[in-house]
């Protein structure tokens, strides 16, 4: 029994992002992550009927998804491989390349992915300036497999000149030329020429080995990334576009927030016995009071106070996301007769 996990790493997008590279991540490249999250989230829910999906920002340059449905936990190695392959389109052999040519129809999952990508592609073109100079243009051009069409596009692009801000216009030109050829030719290889480029550039780049195996370790939610000091926080896939990785708190920031809060509420000199004060204060923050029953054990006042320290920080929102997930988790697993036996313990997630 092990969660089905997905790992997407920003470094795998280095050939299509010009804002940052390596371990850095900014709002611009987060767009790739948000698209990846949307595509996978939809597929996992719609195609496989999974419901218990926990999406987490790793604290540095990647995102993880933990699928915790009973059917996902039961998957064996073959099942995990099958899902990983279903959900990835970049074949590594011999070079990374999306190829959709032979099939008669675009698989519904890929079509859905393409629609999600298309929706945001002009923003990506602008933000990453994907077609702003010769070198970048060549990269995209090389994804057009038909040589004749490639030359035609290149000619048109050259005619348009090299001024800034033409990325979208140049892309539209490329699409128009390919569409024109598609209309007059019955070449099967041409059918998905545009789709291939879109998927090649933006489709989620999964580290499938993480998904295939059951012994790969992923950073647990809420632990602190050793390099960046950032907390590994869960986020809502439906609000993934609004998530800003650069605003994720570091451990130092959290300590400062707790200190600031205590100072503001004059709690510094009080002892642990006076926790009711901090709890009252906490109510004003509007935190959901629903606690998992498992956590309601006899606690020393100090432990209780420490357990609530997060409520003085901005982490409170992330905890709310996590608690919402746990609630759904309990809902599903309660119905799971024997399989649920091992989760009736104190901690439902074996983090």
């Amino acid at each position: 029994m092990r969660e089905l996990v997905f790992d997407i790493d920003m470094t795998d997008y280095d050939d299509v992002r010009y804002c940052c590279s390596g371990a850095d991540i900014c709002e611009k490249c987060w767009r790739y992550m948000s698209i990846a999250c949307k595509i996978l989230d939809t597929a996992l829910r719609e195609d496989f009927d999974f419901q218990l999906l926990l999406w987490v920002f790793s604290g540095r340059r990647g995102i993880h998804c933990w699928v915790c449905d009973p059917a996902a936990l039961d998957l064996d190695g073959r099942g995990r491989s099958a899902l990983a392959e279903y959900l990835s389109v970049l074949t590594a052999n011999p070079v990374k390349k999306v190829y959709l040519g032979a099939s008669d129809t675009l698989h519904p999952h890929l079509k859905r992915a393409r629609i999600i990508i298309e929706d945001q592609f002009s923003k990506i073109l602008e933000e990453q300036e994907l077609l702003s100079n010769k070198e970048r243009q060549t990269k995209v051009l090389n994804l057009v497999s038909n040589g004749e069409i490639r030359t035609e596009i290149e000619k048109e692009w050259n005619r348009m000149g090299q001024e800034d801000g033409q990325d979208v216009a140049k892309w539209d030109k490329l699409v128009a030329i390919i569409r024109h050829h598609q209309a007059k030719s019955s070449d099967r290889k041409l059918r998905y020429a545009v789709d291939e480029i879109l998927l090649e550039l933006v489709y989620p780049r999964l580290d499938i080995h993480v998904t295939k195996g059951v012994n790969h370790l992923l950073k647990s939610p809420f632990c602190v990334h050793p390099k960046t000091g950032k907390v590994c926080v869960p986020f809502q896939p439906r609000a993934v576009e609004k998530f800003n990785p650069s605003k994720v708190p570091t451990i130092n920031q959290l300590i400062a927030e707790v200190e600031l809060y205590d100072e503001k509420h004059n709690l510094l000199n009080k002892t642990a016995d006076e926790t009711p004060a901090s709890e009252t204060a906490m109510d004003t923050t509007g935190t959901p009071q629903s606690e998992t029953p498992a956590l309601k054990q006899a606690e020393t006042p100090v432990a209780k106070q420490l357990r609530n320290e997060y409520k003085k920080t901005c982490l409170v929102k992330s905890i709310a996301v996590f608690e919402e997930f746990l609630k759904a988790f309990h809902g599903v697993w309660k119905g799971e007769g024997g399989g649920g036996a091992n989760i009736n313990g104190a901690d439902p997630m074996s983090f």
Partner: protein, 477 residues
């Protein structure tokens, strides 16, 4: 008990019990019930060996690069099964399902019995289990192809694999959702996605809310998954039983050897394939025509002037097989060993064993040279040991060096390919590839299965080419 008696009642016209008639109603079965019959030990061994041959044919056909499950693949396998005289299997493997002749039942019974014997044999280790499952799965899929529509229906029914067709209403919904992947002219079944992994990984199936929608042609994929998971559970059970079953010494001898039994040509001396080998030329011959396992032993012998026990045996039997005379073999070992050892000690400790290997001492058995399976399973690679199959025992860098030393002017990628094959444990295919690289002129009809076969092929080739070269040089001088 009455119950048993009734079960065993023999139907006069066929010679099969009613129970067996039920068990063997279809050419294809899932092997859920073990056979309960009396069989002589001889039949036990002979029939099982036939099935082992079938597995090897399947493995070799796939290893030749013919696309699995293709028309060509099926034909190649069946032709070879026929060529090896395994007629009973051909009939049951290509059966349409529900034949009722005595020969039909006979074939199915043999299929049943041999499957279970092999299941036992191959349950011993993880490696054997995996190999067995691969061949059985391929065989299963091959046989499904030949089943008639009625045969398939009956098979599904008797194995409780009832998949529901979908309603028209659901169908019309699917048509819109699936972007054309669902074809309105075909019949579809709805199955949980956990039963169609291989269709999922190739994105060959429409998925919606945890269910896959498959056509009646694709249903084999579902059945194969069922068969595989059933078999892998059974194999584990079997492996637990194995230790109890081999308490019977007679079975132990058969089951323990079945997977390594060499089913090809026999290279014992006297079977007419020995060459006249000039012992003084052995070094040259070794570099030219020895397979890697023997070349590596020969080099150790001549460089380090010693070989450990299993290495000595492996090499001496091979040398015997290629035609080295006992006196010459003694001379070779003696001249090398005594560079580091007192001649007296050699004569006392080693010369007996060499004469023994040649069948001149003790019980005077003419021992057979080791086949590849035996060499591979020798598990060489211990400290100071050089026996076994180099593709298995060598470390990556050691193998690299060996290939670099022995393949002159490799084509780009060739060495890489061999190393990858070794990594994936295809030792014999590795050796075959190595052979082809070294002897581009020789056409191979099968993979290398025996070090002496390797030698036969490469030596005769080199012999003839070098002779023609000699002639040329004579003519030009």
């Amino acid at each position: 008990m009455n119950f048993v008696a009734r079960k065993r009642r023999i139907l006069v016209d066929t010679g099969f019990t009613e129970y067996e008639m039920g068990l063997y109603s279809n050419d294809l079965q899932m092997y859920t019930t073990p056979p309960e019959i009396k069989i002589t030990l001889r039949e036990f061994e002979e029939q099982a060996l036939e099935r082992v041959k079938v597995y090897r044919i399947i493995e070799q056909t796939s290893a030749k690069g013919i696309t699995k499950l293709s028309e060509e693949w099926r034909k190649a396998i069946l032709d070879e099964i026929k060529a090896q005289g395994l007629k009973t299997f051909v009939k049951v493997f290509t059966g349409t399902g529900l034949g009722k002749t005595e020969a039909d039942y006979e074939g199915r019974r043999r299929d049943h019995i041999t499957h279970f014997i092999c299941r036992l044999t191959y349950s011993r280790t993880e490696e054997l289990r995996r190999w067995f499952m691969t061949q059985e799965m391929d065989l299963f899929r091959l046989r499904w192809h030949y089943l008639s529509s009625e045969g398939r229906q009956a098979f599904l029914k008797s194995n409780n694999l009832s998949y529901t067709s979908i309603s028209e209403e659901e169908m019309s919904r699917l048509l819109t959702l699936s972007n054309g992947l669902v074809d309105s002219t075909k019949e579809y079944y709805k199955v949980p996605f956990t039963e169609v992994f291989d269709l999922i990984s190739r994105r060959r199936i429409f998925l919606h809310k945890g269910f896959g929608y498959i056509t009646s042609q694709d249903i084999i994929s579902v059945i194969a998954t069922q068969f595989r998971s059933f078999m892998s559970k059974q194999m584990m059970l079997c492996s637990n039983l194995y230790s109890r079953i081999i308490e019977d010494e007679r079975l132990k001898a058969i089951l323990g050897n079945l997977n390594t039994v060499y089913t090809g040509k026999n290279y014992t001396v006297g079977s007419g394939n020995a060459h006249e080998i000039d012992i003084k030329q052995l070094g040259t011959i070794a570099r030219r025509a020895f397979p890697p396992c023997m070349l590596s032993l020969y080099s150790t012998l001549t460089n380090q002037n010693h070989l450990k026990h299993f290495g000595r045996l492996q090499l001496i039997l091979f040398l015997k097989g290629i035609g080295v005379k006992m006196e010459d073999a003694l001379y070779l070992y003696r001249s090398e060993f005594t560079k580091k050892m007192e001649p007296d000690k050699f004569d006392k400790e080693h010369s007996y064993n060499i004469r023994h290997s040649y069948g001149k001492e003790g019980k005077r058995t003419n021992y057979t040279p080791y086949a590849c399976m035996k060499v591979i399973n020798l598990n060489g690679g211990g400290a100071g040991e050089t026996h076994g199959c180099p593709f298995k025992t060598f470390e990556a860098n050691q193998l690299n060096k060996f290939l670099a030393d022995n393949i002159s002017n490799p084509e780009p990628g060739e060495v890489r390919e061999i190393i990858d094959l070794a990594k994936n444990k295809h030792y014999q295919i590795c050796c075959t590839k190595y052979f082809q690289t070294k002897n581009p002129g020789v056409k191979l009809n099968s993979i290398i299965e025996h070090p002496n076969q390797y030698f036969e092929l490469s030596y005769s080739d080199r012999n003839s080419t070098s002779k023609t070269e000699d002639k040329k040089s004579v003519a030009s001088s």
